[in-house]
Symmetry: C2
Subunit: 167 residues, 2 copies
């Protein structure tokens, strides 16, 4: 087997003991999130661990051996029939552009379909430095459903992508 | 003083011991929310009581004597600089169309301005039976910023209203 080959990645949805540290390390490595945002990412793992499905947070981790290289967090949107939010998706900064993000999204979509979900929403920023992120979602079949001007901060809008499953 | 006059309403932001019951009664009386949604409304009071500002939930209650006639719940949107969500606003079903909703919204806007907020978002349904709700927000100066088709359920979209404060 070739080191770093995609074929070595194993996906799992069950938490392991050190996932809080792993999530903190992965999210921090991207340099895209401030301390408060990193804390929120870790908190969602803590919630999942203490409350299970009732937390509203589901995870997919991509592991290579004992290392976790990326993960995604998603869940049903309260008060909706079958809409889901993709809350987080992050890949270790040293491993980006190798297709792990695409495979994580595909795993998330399969999980949501199994759970009976029909629509997936994901929010991102309208800022120029998020252009690669927006291109990534477009490439995965997500379409821009809404843009909220200056939502995050003046000049930093929220772009809402949506993918309808089974289409 | 005339019984039922608006001038008798006293607004407060501090919780009182029986607010969980009051919120449950008010939200239930509107007949617009299912049991799960009523439970969420009550849970936000519980969160506020146990965590204070750290809960992310702020309240305005409109009281007449020892009775609470309506309330609103709002809070800062995580990861935004100064955007707020109006999560709930409900008036006792027997007291609607007397202007309490408008006065509650005005109190919420004043509170958010004091907290440094600049934008207020509120979500509602695109369904025909929510036309009065949408007209209410329009009348208060909120504009439709986005519409997410079939967000809540097939044929039941989410309409996102926004008001920029200080404009």
């Amino acid at each position: 087997m070739t080191s770093g080959s995609d074929s070595e990645i194993v996906f799992r949805t069950q938490l392991q003991p050190r996932d809080e540290e792993r999530v903190e390390r992965i999210v921090t490595s991207t340099k895209k999130f401030n301390d408060g945002e990193v804390a929120i990412a870790v908190e969602l793992v803590v919630e999942r661990r203490s409350k299970g499905d009732a937390s509203g947070y589901h995870f997919v981790f991509g592991d290579s051996g004992s290392e976790t290289l990326g993960y995604a967090c998603f869940g049903p949107i309260p008060a909706t029939q079958s809409s889901y939010d993709l809350y987080w998706i992050a890949v270790d900064a040293g491993l980006q552009r190798r297709g792990l993000g695409r495979r994580l999204i595909a795993e998330v979509e399969a999980s949501i379909a199994r759970l009976g979900g029909t629509r997936i929403y994901v929010d991102t920023s309208s800022r120029e430095d998020y252009a690669p992120t927006r291109a990534f979602y477009r490439g995965m079949g997500y379409i821009v459903e809404a843009e909220l001007e200056s939502f995050y901060a003046p000049g930093d809008g929220k772009v809402v992508f949506c993918k309808v499953l089974g289409n």
